[in-house]
Amino acid sequence: MSDPQDRLPLDDTPPAPGEVQRQPGAMKVSARTATVLLLFTIVFTALMAFTHDMTKPILDASAQAQKLKLIGEVLPPTLYDNDLLADAVTLPATPALGLDEPSLAYRARKGGEPVALVFEACANNGYSGRIGLVLAVLADGRLRAVRVSQHKETPGLGDYIDPKKDKNKSNPWIEQFSGQGYDLALGGHWKVKKDGGRFDARAGATISARAVTNASGKALIWIAERRAALFALPAGTTLQEKTP
């Protein structure tokens, strides 16, 4: 849709090259268009490639930073001094963690001493879809913190499990898990109050809370029971479960 206003009296070149009366042959036109398009392609692909090369190192660095930031939410960097990302072991696909693919567990140490394990888990019974969790379990078996890494819960209803969406900024719902020991879970009290447990859930929106609570409880038990083995494994290896 071209409006007459689009053609301003600034230009003295003919308006559209197509209107020129020459009628060259099809082959000649194809050759010309192919050449021109080729030239443009080379120039602009080069431009893109150049930018790519320029930004690649920065991109790699920021991907790394991104991961550390997520970990930092459950385990502040001041608590450890090792290269966390390098000190990782692979966990097999574990139903207790809600994962059907192998995942990584990072080991935080301070002065060589085990501090905490950072790992992923997943709650599969959220209101809508899976809820991804990142947990940090301290060496004494207490949960350092848990965060939701990704979810699709109903906005405004179930999404308070993510502290960024939680209206109560000073005391987010998910903070109530911090510092709880795994004995609580073993004792069967790692549940929302409605189910007879210890944890709150907001009225009218218990499904998301229940899913996160149950998943984090199960994950905590599983990891806490294997924490010694996990710290002992050499970096880069996979945890081998003995089949009972």
Partner: protein, 183 residues
């Protein structure tokens, strides 16, 4: 980087060649749009739009050189139809080309006419009959009411007379909704 370049270059050559070839092979002659626009215009051939007739104006609209609101005889109704056809927004009739008038026919005052044939030459639809030194007259059913004959007449004997309503041309009016202010 080299692979990227090569892939892009190959695509460019193929596409460029194909497009150039297609542009020549499948060139469309003529413009059906002009016909459609011309079909909407009232065919008064009055030239009020600034073009020498309805078809040139249609061509100009199709080319995007002219706006759709330059045809006073077509009126708002015509602009609406053009806007519909071209998917443009309706605009009120542009004032510089004249205003919408009731449909009229030219009438020659036969007592005054000197038979100069100037109006015959001006009439785009040959609706005036007569010969040099003879009295002229307008064939009313043929007259489109374009007013082109009025200006050339040296003795000002042509008047535009609005067509009176007859039983055949009478129309039911658009219902006027009277909502009583019930407050």
């Amino acid at each position: 980087m080299i692979t990227a370049l090569l892939v892009m270059a190959l695509g460019a050559v193929l596409l460029g060649a194909a497009l150039g070839y297609a542009a020549v092979k499948f060139r469309v002659e003529g413009d059906p749009l002009v016909e459609k626009i011309d079909g909407i215009l009232p065919q008064t051939q009055c030239g009020q739009c600034g073009y020498p007739g309805c078809r040139p104006y249609a061509q100009a609209i199709a080319n995007g050189d002219a706006d759709i609101n330059c045809c006073p005889p077509g009126g708002e109704d015509g602009i609406r139809k053009l806007a519909d056809l071209l998917g443009r927004e309706f605009k009120p009739l542009s004032g510089e080309h004249g205003v919408e008038k009731p449909k009229s026919v030219a009438v020659i005052d036969e007592n005054v006419c000197i038979g100069c044939t100037l109006c015959l030459q001006a009439c785009p639809v040959d609706a005036i009959v007569g010969a040099a030194k003879q009295m002229h007259t307008v064939i009313a059913p043929q007259c489109t009411g374009c007013e082109l004959c009025v200006a050339p007449c040296p003795v000002d004997c042509i008047a535009m007379v609005p067509i009176a309503e007859s039983m055949d041309s009478w129309k039911w009016k658009y219902p006027v909704i009277e909502i009583r202010k019930a407050a």
